[in-house]
């Protein structure tokens, strides 16, 4: 600062660094791959209504809730969610809600690292000139299906004569090992610093791709309806040719998925923020920090992801493909190579885009195991390296299931819905109730505003206490009613409960999630004994 209190050149540099770090840490696979996949599945424009409502009534308020509860727990010497829940709510059941905050990041890690591998594979294939499948758009779809083993279980294990560059398993192993080396050796911070500069490059790259998509026109004159305006229309029009706007809005699963996407991309309801916030100082800002991270995330997701992937998929592959994309994450891996194929220096842009996306994914996956590491250290007294090795074993088993049961990416989809949407939803509901009704909204508000760089409007307090819980529980009620009474909204689709009844792979995946949950419940039970003993010892020492 100079004498007049104006920021100096050096201060501007550090502020820019902060902005790059905060917004960079928010970017991940959810923005460019998961969001477009969901928007396409739920008819684009109609999806944006529950999406923005969820951002305003759930995402931002619950992000503040998590940061506040985490810092509150840290001030009392706790870092893991089960311990923080137990601190806030003196009930024997409280720490066991922490099972959710353990299984969510750990199970998501099992498939997230696999998709990270796809990004790395695509980047290296572009680098080696192995992504040129010509002008036929469906060739990219065929390659993706072959690469991930879409047609049958175990198919992803075959490379079809392409060597390591055609092996999804090889890239999974490479990413898995890389992640564990970085976590095991505690090198995450160096990578995060590197990525805070790489992420703006990803945004510039995405802007270039967006410009190319918006100038595509009608690439195939024999299919005039597949033009960029119709592609944008599919993404943004409130009504579509198939169903009316009101009919689309009457789908409770869309509201659940929209809230789930907000939670997924903001990392809210994961149990990650609460652990990281516990390491903050008591006068650090959490209000503007979380808002800036959310704003960076939303810009990448809506302004870039929303203008690129769905319109490009529509233009090259048509309406039927967009309405039934190859899994939530698969849309981008089929649509984007078509765009790069139509770009000047498309090979270079393709490499840069997928490589930078891989780096964005790495920054996210490196933080996913920290909540469980914190529990193992705090509750069981394990060292960091032992904790990482233990988690490495569990996640390796889970990732093996994801890659082996590759037909229709069934296990990945099951994990992504039941953990990446449903469990996150449950944890977010529990946390907002805990903050508003147990910790007390006044106490929580004081925690949130200490050191805050912005003044959060007073009415947000009432949103957190009343509106968010009612909103979450109402959607949940309607979703249950749809699952049990109404059936699917689209003909030929199965409800989630019907999928469980029909598919042994889905039941197997859910059984695996149950086993992981049971394991963490046992670990939490052991940790509670340790925390109780420590508290008794402290009391005895005091008397």
């Amino acid at each position: 600062m100079n004498r007049q209190g104006e920021p100096t050149k050096e201060a501007w540099g550090s502020r820019l660094g902060v902005i790059l770090a905060v917004t960079g840490s928010a970017v991940g696979l959810g923005n460019f791959l998961r969001f477009p996949g969901l928007a396409a599945r739920y008819e684009g424009g109609a999806f944006m209504v529950p999406y923005f409502i969820a951002l305003l009534l759930l995402g931002l308020p619950i992000a503040w809730v998590e940061w506040s509860m985490g810092r509150y727990g840290g001030a009392h010497g706790y870092n893991s969610s089960p311990a923080i829940f137990r601190l806030i709510w003196r009930n024997r059941a409280a720490p066991y809600f922490g099972v959710l905050s353990m299984i969510i990041p750990v199970v998501i890690y099992m498939y997230y690292v696999y998709i990270e591998g796809w990004c790395l594979a695509y980047a290296l294939r572009y680098l080696c000139g192995r992504m040129d499948f010509g002008a036929e758009p469906t060739a990219y779809e065929r390659f993706f299906h072959q690469f991930v083993g879409w047609t049958g279980d175990g198919e992803a294990l075959h490379t079809s004569g392409e060597g390591l560059l055609g092996s999804a398993v090889f890239f999974l192993i490479a990413c898995f090992v890389l992640n564990f080396i970085l976590i095991y050796r505690g090198l995450s911070k160096g990578i995060e610093w590197f990525c805070s500069w790489a992420m703006p490059a990803l945004i510039v790259c995405a802007l270039l791709v967006a410009v190319r998509v918006l100038t595509l026109g009608t690439p195939d004159p024999s299919k005039p309806e597949q033009n960029v305006l119709n592609g944008l229309g599919y993404m943004w029009n409130p009504t579509t040719s198939n169903i009316s706007f009101c009919e689309a809005l009457c789908n409770p699963e869309m509201w659940l998925a929209a809230a789930g996407q907000i939670f997924f991309s903001l990392s809210v309801g994961f149990g990650i923020i609460i652990t990281y916030a516990s390491y903050l100082g008591k006068n650090d800002d959490i209000a503007l920090s979380s808002l800036t991270a959310a704003a960076g995330n939303e810009f990448c997701e809506v302004a870039l992801g929303g203008l690129i992937t769905v319109p490009a998929a529509f233009v090259f592959l048509g309406l039927s493909f967009v309405q039934d994309p190859p899994g939530t994450f698969g849309l981008g891996f089929v649509a984007l190579p078509n765009v790069f194929n139509q770009m000047v220096f498309g090979r270079v842009v393709g490499f840069l885009f997928f490589f930078l996306l891989f780096l964005a994914a790495i920054t996210s996956s490196l933080s996913m195991l920290q909540p469980a590491i914190a529990l193992l250290e705090e509750g069981l007294g394990l060292k960091r390296k032992a904790s990482v090795a233990f988690l490495g074993f569990i996640t390796a088993i889970g990732s093996t299931f994801v890659v082996y049961f590759s037909k229709d990416l069934k296990v990945l989809d099951t994990f992504d819905f039941w953990v990446g949407t449903f469990a996150i939803y449950l944890l977010a509901t529990f946390q907002v109730l805990l903050y508003g009704w147990v910790l007390g909204v006044e106490r929580g508000w004081e925690e949130l505003n200490r050191g805050a760089e912005i003044r959060i409007p007073h009415w947000v307090k009432y949103i957190i206490k009343y509106v968010s819980p009612v909103y979450l529980l109402t959607i949940f009620g309607f979703w249950f009613q749809q699952q049990f009474l109404q059936g699917p909204t689209k003909p030929g689709e199965l409800t989630r409960l019907q999928q469980i009844q029909e598919s042994s792979v889905v039941r197997f995946a859910l059984g695996f999630i149950g086993v992981v949950a049971l394991l963490f419940a046992l670990l939490i039970a052991q940790s509670v004994k340790r925390w109780n003993k420590a508290e008794r010892d402290r009391k005895e020492a005091a008397t």
């Binding site: 920021p7 905060v22 960079g24 943004w236 409130p238 808002l291 960076g296 810009f299 933080s367 760089e453």
Partner: protein, 52 residues
């Protein structure tokens, strides 16, 4: 692309861009903000330091 589509797109893209610009403005103009603002990226977990 209908008129409704243009409206939804402009509001959505414009809204998130405006929010991002406002956040940047606050970070650049609030004295001391750079020292007290954090992300997961710059929070070093104490267990890493202990093992070093």
């Amino acid at each position: 692309m209908t008129l409704g589509g243009w409206v939804v797109m402009c509001l959505s893209v414009g809204g998130v861009t405006a929010l991002l610009i406002w956040c940047f403005y606050k970070v650049f103009t609030t004295p001391g903000a750079a020292e007290r603002i954090h992300s997961q990226a710059d929070i070093e977990t104490p267990d890493v330091r202990e093992e070093e």
